[in-house]
Symmetry: C2
Subunit: 211 residues, 2 copies
């Protein structure tokens, strides 16, 4: 059966040589080309028959993340698997947003790299375990930021007072606003949280991390 055609882009020639030998020996792959920077890759991946590009991130002349879209333009069917030591969040998110099909660290075991390439070839995305962890943490942080913006600063003030057991009257004294204003803020809080009363609002507030 036909071998999966790989193209290596990495500025370290010893690494490329070693990787090429390793991949060719595995039996399922054929390394059809190798260059030391994306600019050289641009000249070739449009011409060669390539299934997957293994692309480093940090390279002297051009960053791998910036090369993704250009490579994809030159060969729309191509798949791109980042192979790097960088665990930098910006590199990772940049690679994803630019369309990388996977992000694997260079400390990966050969057998895992082989499986990763096969997964990418089959249309799935793959990440190294540490990268998966970083991604999930990023998603959690993003969600927390989003959650925080549901309520205005004033609404949060009122909700925290409620959480401490204060009545409308107490809260108006604490915040130097009228009871009617407090009630309006509470109404908006309940609307935004889709709850029926202030007790539920406090419970939801705790769940969302407001206190």
């Amino acid at each position: 059966m036909e071998k999966i055609k790989l193209f290596l882009v990495d500025d370290h020639s010893l690494f490329r040589r070693g990787l090429k030998n390793l991949l060719n020996e595995m039996g399922e792959f054929e390394v059809v080309g190798e260059v030391s920077n994306p600019l050289e890759a641009f000249n070739l991946v449009g011409k060669l028959e390539v299934d997957i590009v293994l692309l480093d991130v940090n390279m002297p002349e051009m960053n791998g993340v910036q090369a993704i879209q250009q490579l994809r333009k030159l060969n729309p069917a191509i798949r791109i698997l980042m192979l790097t030591i960088s665990q930098d969040n910006q590199d990772l998110i940049g690679a994803i947003n630019n369309g990388a099909n996977g992000y694997v660290l260079k400390n990966t075991e050969p057998e895992i790299l082989k499986n990763s390439i096969l997964q990418v070839y089959n249309g799935n995305s793959v990440l190294s375990p540490e990268i998966t962890t970083e991604i999930l943490n990023t998603i959690r942080r993003t969600q927390q930021d989003k959650t925080k913006n549901i309520l205005t600063e004033r609404e949060i003030d009122v909700l925290r007072c409620l959480a401490k057991g204060n009545t409308t009257s107490n809260i108006s004294n604490i915040l130097f606003i009228s009871e009617n204003t407090v009630k309006t803020h509470i109404r908006h809080i309940m609307e935004k949280m889709e709850v029926k009363n202030r007790a539920e609002a406090v419970a939801k507030g705790a769940q969302l991390g407001f206190f």
Copy 2:
């Protein structure tokens, strides 16, 4: 060496039985308990010594996603690995936001499940390949939404006119606003994109997907 202690939560008893046998036979694991719903798990995971809970999502009496935080409260050191057929985006994002350490599909090969459990035990997060793909697509969509909101509708109108090669004068005729208004919008576009002139703004606009 000591075996990793697992706790199974799944409403299908045949599945639990088969999984328990499989995991125990692997040698690295010991299934110390199994229940058919999270409510029963609440009673036990605080008492038993459990390293990792394998938790289904869809269960009749309580959804697994909703159980995560409660399980974490009962035993803060516990790790939770979702094991489910659900590829629903809301289930997935819900699980992640509630603190799940991994999300693996039930169609996973036994050897991959073993490795996944070991990764989670070692502090990493794991996802099935299809789930990784879904996660990366979610991140891309989120980023695209965010990007779209950088500019107001009017600014986008102006930028698109620029991209078609129009001058300030042409754009004012097209949009029925004064040239000075067009220039102000262009100024704001350049500020938001952190570029120095309108050509760069157009290039950045293309990169960000405005046209």
